[in-house]
């Protein structure tokens, strides 16, 4: 009788299993698996497992930064005398805490002002992690569908538009930033009302697409959301025109945008949970 370990299937089991899993992954990519699908559900579980560690390390990193700062203050004070060293250390600890509190207070006050000015239902969230590979521009937030967040909702910060939610779990969510090459926001130039799509580009940057050569557009023009994409309300600041390239063939201009929000230094954001009214397939708003 043939040894079962001597069969073709057994000898090539690693390559065959790998091949099957490659096909599964290719299917997931091509069919655009969502979190609600059977294949997409474990994604939320991974995010939930990681969230407490990420939240804890964010807090630890803040504390570590304070300690690092205090170390230098203590070294300087040691040159004078022990009494002063202790006093300075205590004062600096207090000062660092107060500065941190003041900065946080200022940020939250600005967020509150923004929230009131917008007159929209929003949920405030802290940034607790960045994209795992760095190849996409995404951030992880500490609020999820438990707070009413859903994929597709718009995210803003003090400066302006930040991006859109792409995935949520119970208490965490991921936001795709404006400079990700898969992000697109319907927008227009505030001064001339020239309409286009603001999108990220693969090598880090933001452009405005489909601006016709005859459109009135200048460097420094403010670019705002049009409210036509069903994600952001009309008139939210996205950024300003940084450069316009008129040379070369094609129907459209090559317009670079400087985002108003600092996408590299986000700590707190607001998620717009109230989507603007839009027409549905049946024609009702």
């Amino acid at each position: 009788m043939q040894d079962p370990k001597d069969t073709f299937l057994w000898r090539n089991r690693v390559a065959l299993a790998g091949g099957v899993l490659l096909l599964v992954a290719a299917h997931m990519i091509s069919s655009g698996v969502k979190q609600s699908d059977a294949l997409g559900r474990p994604e939320g579980v991974v995010a939930e497992i990681m969230r407490p560690f990420q939240a804890a390390s964010s807090r630890m990193a803040s504390s570590a930064a304070d300690l690092f700062h205090d170390y230098f203050v203590l070294t300087k004070a040691a040159r004078e005398n022990v009494h002063l060293k202790e006093q300075i250390a205590q004062l600096n600890q207090r000062q660092a805490t107060m500065v941190e509190l003041e900065l946080e207070n200022r940020r939250l006050a600005e967020l509150l002002d923004l929230k009131e000015a917008l007159d929209l239902r929003v949920v405030a969230a802290d940034v607790i992690g960045s994209d795992a590979t760095g190849m996409a521009r995404t951030l992880i937030l500490n609020q999820g569908d438990g707070s009413g967040l859903q994929p597709g909702m718009g995210v803003i910060a003090i400066g302006g538009v930040v991006g859109k939610l792409i995935a949520t779990s119970h208490s965490a969510s991921r936001v795709m930033l404006l400079n990700d090459h898969n992000c697109a926001v319907d927008a227009f130039v505030q001064r001339s009302r020239a309409r286009g799509i603001v999108a990220g580009v693969a090598d880090d940057g933001v452009i405005m697409k489909y601006i016709e050569r005859t459109d009135d557009i200048k460097v420094g023009d403010a670019v705002v959301t049009s409210g036509l994409d069903g994600v952001f309300p009309r008139g939210l600041l996205i950024g300003s025109v940084a450069a316009i390239q008129r040379k070369g063939p094609g129907l459209f201009l090559n317009v670079s945008i400087q985002p108003a929000a600092n996408l590299r230094k986000l700590e707190q954001v607001l998620v717009i949970t109230q989507t603007p009214p839009h027409l549905t397939d049946s024609g009702t708003s």
């Binding site: 990519i29 294949l39 960045s130 590979t133 760095g134 996409a136």
Partner: protein, 165 residues
């Protein structure tokens, strides 16, 4: 179990450290190193499933297309596995070299899948430079990760290298 814990630690480091680094992209792809280790040293039936799971977990915390990293990690596992079966050369350079090539393949593969092949062919010199530096950084860290994994395997009394029967 060792690889599951290692993957969670790697993802935690990648999402947190990157947040604090000024140039976030220049951080080694730790999950990729784990996958190459699997491909080079773990030749059992569970290994491809582990590679797929590590990619899937990365997908949960990265990118916009679910399945991209799962696909790339399974592919990199298979290529490392085939490489380890056919290259009759051993030495400390094979691991990091495989990691560097795998990192290049991974970056270009993810870009091609998510942004189209044109985004790779039209990429400018600074972007190529960043990708190469990223691959070199990942390769430089690889021996340390391999060593930690070997220590972990010995501590758990697992074989350091599992050959196909």
């Amino acid at each position: 179990m060792l690889f599951a814990v290692a993957t969670l630690v790697a993802l935690w480091l990648e999402t947190e450290v990157r947040l604090w680094l000024p140039a976030g992209i220049l951080f080694p792809n730790l999950v990729l190193i784990l996958t190459v280790d699997l491909g080079l040293k773990q030749h059992n039936g569970l290994a491809p499933a582990l590679a797929f799971a590590m990619g899937y977990a990365t997908d949960a915390l990265s990118g916009t297309h679910l399945g991209v990293n799962a696909f790339m990690m399974t592919l990199i596992f298979l290529l490392s596995y085939e490489l380890s079966r056919h290259v009759w050369v051993t030495g400390k350079i094979i691991g990091p070299l495989t990691v560097a090539l795998a990192d290049l393949l991974n970056t270009l593969g993810v870009m091609a899948i998510t942004a189209g092949v044109a985004s790779v062919t039209t990429m400018k010199a600074p972007a190529w430079r960043m990708i190469l530096i990223q691959a070199l950084i990942t390769a430089a860290v690889a021996p340390l990760i391999f060593m930690i994994l070997d220590v972990g395997k010995r501590a758990l009394r697992l074989p350091v290298r599992v050959a196909a029967e």
